[in-house]
């Protein structure tokens, strides 16, 4: 291969871009390990550079401290054991104890606060419930429809396919308001149903699976029919197994979109933290802490972002395929 003078320049540009792209990921992780002071100044208490992991000097966890400040009874009961000391002195002894018990490494503190200041586990669980339900329902609705549109002959087939193509053009944001009104009229806002129902139909999924089924040879289906299978079991026992690669790509597309979606949960969930999805929980966490607890807030961000990023790093090719599937239209 000839030496290409352009190569170093190209790498220089690409590295420059990569730094800007990675910067917030780096900061997010780094901040999630650091104390508020380190985040704000980039330096530790001795004035040295804090570094990626921070210096992990123990600091007093203010929440731990506040909730454990000595009560009157504790002071009184200890005074009985320590005759000769004044109330003030005993109080200070107890306070010192509490302070010592509440000394924590910033990394540990940030992550424990992330999980205790807000029901973060609940948010994650909601995220899993919502994304999994959406995907499963999408498949249950889309697969039979796609099969019928691809392989069965009936009156109105072309018309229905045209409808699918038409709906493909409509972004859900355009119908968000009327959908919200319909759900409100049914008393369904603030429920899992509200989070899931509008996404149960993926016209894109129908379109994608239909295109895929078109390529499946009719012999497979005929063989199934010869064996006395019903059309219904042909879908699930013949077509589904052939469609696994396409289905996987669609799963990635669907899961990524709905795990990260913020707009729709924001519209239909008002105030019930038990129903918050991770992005909504993140936004509310920021609001509740008035954006001041940067360390714990970044710990929440890391927790929400990590599952998909790790999955992506493990199966990059499939992810890029799945996400850009919409490019195949």
């Amino acid at each position: 291969m000839n030496y290409d003078i352009g190569q170093p320049i190209k790498h220089f540009l690409l590295v420059l871009g990569a730094i800007i792209v990675i910067l917030p990921f780096y900061s997010m992780m780094s901040y999630s390990f650091q104390s508020q002071g380190e985040i704000e100044t980039g330096k530790n208490s001795k004035g040295e550079k804090a570094g990626f992991l921070g210096t992990q000097e123990k600091i007093v966890d203010q929440f731990c401290f506040k909730s454990n400040t000595p009560e009157k009874e504790e002071v009184n009961s200890l005074m009985l054991k320590m005759p000769g000391k004044t109330e003030r002195e005993v109080y200070n002894i107890l306070l010192k104890d509490v302070t010592e018990n509440c000394l924590k490494k910033p990394a540990y503190m940030n992550y424990t606060q992330a999980f205790t200041k807000a029901p973060l586990l609940r948010y994650l669980l909601n995220g899993v419930i919502v994304t999994a339900s959406i995907f499963l329902l999408q498949v249950v609705v889309a697969l039979p429809a796609a099969y019928a549109l691809a392989k069965l002959r009936f009156v109105g087939r072309e018309f229905i396919f045209t409808l699918v193509l038409l709906c493909l053009l409509i972004p859900i944001h355009a119908v968000a308001l009327p959908l919200y009104i319909m759900l409100a009229k049914l008393g369904l806002t603030n429920s899992y149903a509200a989070l899931i129902i509008p996404w149960t139909i993926s016209v894109f999924g129908i379109f994608l699976m239909r295109q895929f089924f078109m390529t499946v040879p009719d012999d497979y289906i005929d063989a199934g029919r010869m064996d006395g299978m019903s059309e219904f079991s042909i879908i699930w026992r013949v077509m589904l197994p052939t469609a696994v690669p396409a289905l996987l790509a669609f799963a990635i597309f669907s899961v990524v979109a709905h795990w990260n979606d913020y707009f729709w949960p924001r519209v239909v969930i008002t105030g019930d933290p038990d129903l918050f999805t991770p992005p909504l929980g993140m936004r509310v966490f920021k609001q509740d802490t008035e954006g001041d607890l940067h360390g714990p807030m970044m710990a929440v961000a890391v927790t929400i972002v990590t599952p998909l990023i790790v999955a992506f790093l493990i199966a990059q090719k499939r992810f890029i395929e799945g996400i850009t599937f919409s490019g195949m239209k």
């Binding site: 990921f25 019903s230 990524v256 913020y262 790093l313 996400i323 850009t324």
Partner: protein, 320 residues
């Protein structure tokens, strides 16, 4: 016999849902956009085109158009341009291309709400790392001279960077001079990797022979080959990438909510984008007529962009 009925059973759930989730809501939105309906009110009146009229004349909606158009006009060309640029660079290097691809795709996967909040922390006027970086450059002479343009004879203290070095740190999110552009920046940061992947897919279909033919025809420089072969061959990809970027740009919402949200749309509403307006008017203030009208306008915009795309595709795609 049975299978005949089964055919309709298979499509009916999809059909019913399409009607419930797309058909009826669109009809409702169009209908309500001509009324002054509010949730909870028993009656409503037809107001004709008044809601639409407001959206195109009132000053509060002028802000909406200002913010939305600024965002779209900046973000679409930049995400498309950077996506294409990154794809061309990655396609032409001999090593590490997979690593760059992975890195540039990361923001597409990451929860935008979380990442926008990270950017906000980094852009904090006093405690943020970006301003810290900017001010640390003040002490290095050549950086100071370069950025204040004093090396071409500009008065250093009057320049933008000079005033930063004098202690006027930019308040990136709180100053209406910057707010919408920062929102744009995060939009570009998040979006161009997606376009890059689409362009990379498009590039694999450009045949080697075309390049050789171009070279024989005298297209020696890389730029000439790009003009003659790559760019025309990427035509269909570009049409698609531009369309999808437009539609996504009109939907921007998360970044504004992350930065301001819960009631505000930035300093002097300078980041009052369309989705935020639908949300604020339609859901928070219960002015459903107006919210519906904005929704309808949004739908018309998206549909017309798609129609233009279809038109271009019909005309241009076939030459390859």
């Amino acid at each position: 016999m049975n299978s005949r009925i089964a055919h309709y059973w298979f499509v009916s759930p999809a059909l019913v849902l399409m009607l419930l989730i797309f058909g009826i809501p669109i009809a409702i939105a169009i209908f309500l956009s001509f009324t002054d309906y509010s949730l909870g009110n028993k009656t409503f009146e037809f107001v004709g085109f008044e809601n639409y009229f407001k959206i195109f004349t009132r000053s509060s909606y002028e802000k909406m158009w200002g913010a939305t158009l600024r965002y779209v006009i900046v973000v679409v060309p930049l995400t498309v341009g950077l996506g294409l640029g990154a794809a061309l660079l990655i396609n032409s290097i001999t090593r590490f291309s997979e690593i760059y691809k992975t890195i540039y795709f990361l923001p597409v996967m990451a929860t935008l709400m979380a990442m926008a909040i990270v950017w906000q922390v980094m852009l904090h006027p006093t405690a943020g790392s970006i301003n810290r970086l900017l001010s640390s450059g003040c002490e290095i002479d050549y950086i100071y001279n370069l950025f204040t343009l004093s090396f071409v004879g500009q008065e250093a203290s009057e320049s933008w960077y000079g005033s930063i070095c004098n202690g006027n740190m930019p308040n990136w999110l709180g100053d209406k001079k910057y707010a919408i552009w920062v929102v744009c920046f995060v939009g570009v940061w998040q979006g161009f990797g997606f376009n890059m992947v689409l362009y990379l897919a498009g590039l694999t279909s450009v045949s080697r022979e075309l390049y050789m033919a171009a070279e024989m025809d005298g297209a020696k420089s890389g730029w000439e080959r790009f003009k003659l072969v790559t760019w025309p061959a990427l035509g269909p990809t570009t049409v698609f990438v531009v369309t999808i970027s437009f539609i996504k740009a009109f939907q921007v919402f998360d970044i504004v909510e992350a930065f301001y949200g819960f009631g505000s749309a930035g300093p002097s509403k300078s980041a009052y984008v369309m989705m935020f307006a639908i949300f604020e008017k339609g859901i928070k203030q219960n002015l459903i007529g107006v919210g519906a009208a904005i929704s309808v306008i949004f739908l018309i915009l998206v549909l017309s962009i798609t129609l233009i795309q279809r038109f271009l595709v019909e005309r241009k795609v076939h030459y390859s």
